[in-house]
Point group: C2
Chain length 124, copies 2
Amino acid sequence: MLLRLYSCLDMLGFVSAPFEVLAEPRRRQILDLLRQRPRLVGELTDELGLSQPGVSKHLRVLREAGLVGVRQDAQRRWYELRLEPLRELDAWLHPYRILWDRALDDLEDHLDTMPDEVRPRTEG
Amino acid sequence: MLLRLYSCLDMLGFVSAPFEVLAEPRRRQILDLLRQRPRLVGELTDELGLSQPGVSKHLRVLREAGLVGVRQDAQRRWYELRLEPLRELDAWLHPYRILWDRALDDLEDHLDTMPDEVRPRTEG
DNA sequence: GTCGTACATGCTCTTGCGGTTATATAGCTG
DNA sequence: CAGCTATATAACCGCAAGAGCATGTACGAC
């Protein structure tokens, strides 16, 4: 969805495509597999239980998003994980992470200043 | 895409829908706006430059994914951010974060054991 | 009650994704 | 060269998502 526009904007350095790309469960599965070691298209095809052209198509999307890299070796192509685009995901998440850290801090403060009578039991 | 299946699996506690939900730029934009404070549908409509029913539809998706909550006040509905589902995103990202932290460590080790002649200049 | 506001829902249309099959391309083998 | 392997690309199909418009619903004001 909107992938075409986004891969276009992406080339101009505007938007983070990783979200759209990783919305696909199979593509996340591919990344999970590549986390262990580089793989051939054939391996991925077996693991995913998908047609080879289907896998190639997903790999193309991942490649254009910079999430995987390819190393050619005769007819074979070793696909490997590239981490950089995931940092954009992480960056988007950051302000939210701050919020939930702060929520935890507030909770602690609340417990600290709570009178003993109504204070929940702390184990140990 | 596959949203129906996923919201179904989600109710059973199986899969993380946040990826599919946040693939939509407008929905991310909504969350970004709600990060500051709760908002009315009308406000969001103005900010997004989208039709009101369009906004309501996105809000419905966000609600079903647990990413926003609603508080009703007469005819008005205050939508507010809910952080919990974002933790699933964070959790998925975690093994990758470990990888890129390790990559940094390896780089440091490499620099530490590198002979001075070929060692890149460190500023300062 | 009627009217106006704030929002949700239903419908229809278009578009684009994800899938498969068939075919093209590239490289090795003999 | 022909034939096999590994992968990419093309062509096509089905379906669901996103957008707009019209309508329904709930609540307050009068």
